[in-house]
């Protein structure tokens, strides 16, 4: 049974912590995150994981909607090129990511909010390092204000 998530209120003296949504592919990165967990490798608790069947499943909608919904950062992780469970899902996704990343930059949205990475099921250590790095990048950018609606 899943327990209701109880959000602990951060005291105001505490530093602002970014909230990052992570889309992990079922076959590599999700297992990689699992491995990082069972190997007791520390990585920041800022990420919330969404498991997707393949990085090719990730649509630009997901990423942009995450940003409009107020997430400070988005991390997308899939299998290394050539290792995709569905042969070429991540290769098609890579082209999509390349365009989205450049487009966000063009619109003046900090490209660091959206981070793409590869991590295999055996790379728990790499996963932790990259998540640490992504969190650091987003932390530096500060809260995501550009998509806030003004009333």
């Amino acid at each position: 049974m899943t327990e209701p998530i109880v959000e602990t209120k951060q005291s105001e003296s505490k530093e602002w912590e970014p909230k990052i949504i992570a889309f992990l592919c079922n076959w590599c990165s999700y297992a990689g995150a699992d491995l990082a967990g069972v190997s007791r490798i520390q990585y920041p608790p800022n990420i919330r994981i969404v498991r997707v069947p393949c990085s090719g499943r990730i649509n630009a909608y997901f990423i942009i909607k995450s940003l409009t919904d107020g997430w400070d950062g988005v991390v997308i992780s899939g299998c290394h090129p050539g290792d995709c469970h569905y042969i070429s899902g991540n290769l098609v996704a890579r082209r999509r990511f390349a365009i989205l990343k450049e487009l966000l930059e063009f619109f003046g949205i900090e490209p660091g909010r959206v981070n793409f990475m590869w991590a295999s099921a055996a790379e728990g250590e790499r996963f932790a390092v990259l998540i640490r790095k992504a969190t650091e990048i987003v932390k530096k950018l500060g809260p995501n204000k550009k998509f806030e609606k003004k009333w």
């Binding site: 942009i64 909607k65 098609v92 890579r94 082209r95 390349a98 949205i109 390092v129 609606k149």
Partner: protein, 343 residues
């Protein structure tokens, strides 16, 4: 007699050639219907016309106000192009460069069967930037537009203004490299009229490169200012030959990808996703910009997409129906410098 070589004569030449070809095609029954341009009911606009009789050929015209992309009428086919008994009719399309590109690109997406169409290629000499002209005229009503020599003359009730065409051409047309439809070697009969074979299109993106060198804040400011006037009327979507989805993402309500308001975040998201969908597909006809009632320069975003696609995947849309569009294709060695890596 003094021969004036200018826009006016050029247009007349194009028009006469086009009418002759159209007449021949209808006479020899090579096509059932022809879609082209006719004089619009409003000034500053030529509207599409579908003809199927030889005597109607005189209605076809070419001037510098023909900015509608006729490829739009083939996907999905308008009812006039389908016969209840014969099925799909053979359609002749009066095609400037970007209409030809549209048709060929749609064929590469398997939306058009190139056997069922004939391209009547015309060497386009550019279209007028309607918005800029309207802006200069202001509130006054335009009653008549004509082309004289190299100038576009706009007449109203108590004013008459001349616009030099070279300056008031649509920005995309100024740097256009594909003025005639591309020749497809697999379909030698596809193109009648003027077509050209293109090998490698070299385009400079100086304007885009200049914008890219700005800081994120400057870019955001410029983009938000430009887009904030958007009323989300979706005229850009309706005019675009590449927007043919049965259910557009903006109309989807399960799931709701983004809000229905005209608040800035929603507008930005609309234009972001629209741009994503245009990547590697935009044929640079500029129809979206020219129909925008608020005068938003969408070409600017489309040019950026063209630049990305050209630089990353070396692809120009609408030249060859056999090349896969870049967004459904992949290469093992695609650049991935944007991926996060360990130090």
């Amino acid at each position: 007699m003094v021969i004036i070589v200018g826009l006016e004569t050029e247009n007349k030449d194009i028009e006469n050639n086009m009418q002759e070809i159209a007449k021949g095609l209808l006479k020899e029954k090579k096509v059932d219907v022809i879609i082209g341009y006719k004089k619009g009911t409003l000034p500053l606009l030529s509207q599409p016309i579908i003809i199927d009789k030889e005597e109607d050929v005189d209605k076809l015209l070419w001037n510098n106000l023909c900015y509608v992309n006729l490829a739009k009428y083939l996907v999905p086919r308008v009812p006039r192009f389908v016969d209840s008994e014969k099925g799909n009719l053979k359609v002749g399309v009066v095609a400037k460069g970007c209409v030809g590109r549209g048709l060929i690109h749609l064929a590469s997406e398997n939306k058009i069967n190139l056997d069922e169409i004939t391209i009547i290629g015309i060497p386009c000499n550019g279209v007028v930037n309607r918005q800029r002209v309207e802006m200069e005229i202001g509130e006054k009503e335009i009653l008549e537009v004509s082309v004289l020599g190299n100038n576009v003359i706009v007449k109203g009730k108590d004013f008459e203004k001349e616009f030099p065409f070279d300056e008031y051409m649509n920005e995309l047309c100024k740097g256009c490299k594909i003025r005639k439809p591309s020749l497809v070697s697999k379909f030698p009969d596809l193109c009648v009229g003027e077509c050209e074979e293109y090998s490698n299109i070299v385009d400079e993106f100086d304007d885009i490169a200049e914008f890219e060198s700005k800081t994120p804040e400057e870019k955001w400011e410029y983009i938000t200012e430009a887009l904030s006037v958007c009323t989300r009327c979706y005229a850009c979507r309706e005019a675009c030959p590449m927007c043919y989805c049965n259910l557009c993402f903006v109309d989807q309500n399960k799931p709701v990808w983004f809000g229905k308001t005209t608040d800035l975040p929603d507008i930005i998201v609309y234009h972001l996703i629209r741009a994503m969908h245009m990547a590697g597909r935009c044929v640079a006809c500029g129809a979206c910009s020219l129909v925008c009632p608020m005068g938003i320069d969408l070409n600017f975003i489309n040019r950026k997409l063209e630049k990305i696609v050209k630089e990353r995947f070396d692809f120009t849309s609408g030249l060859d129906p056999d090349t896969l569009p870049p967004m459904v294709d992949f290469k093992m060695e695609d650049a991935e410098e944007f991926m996060l890596e360990e130090d």
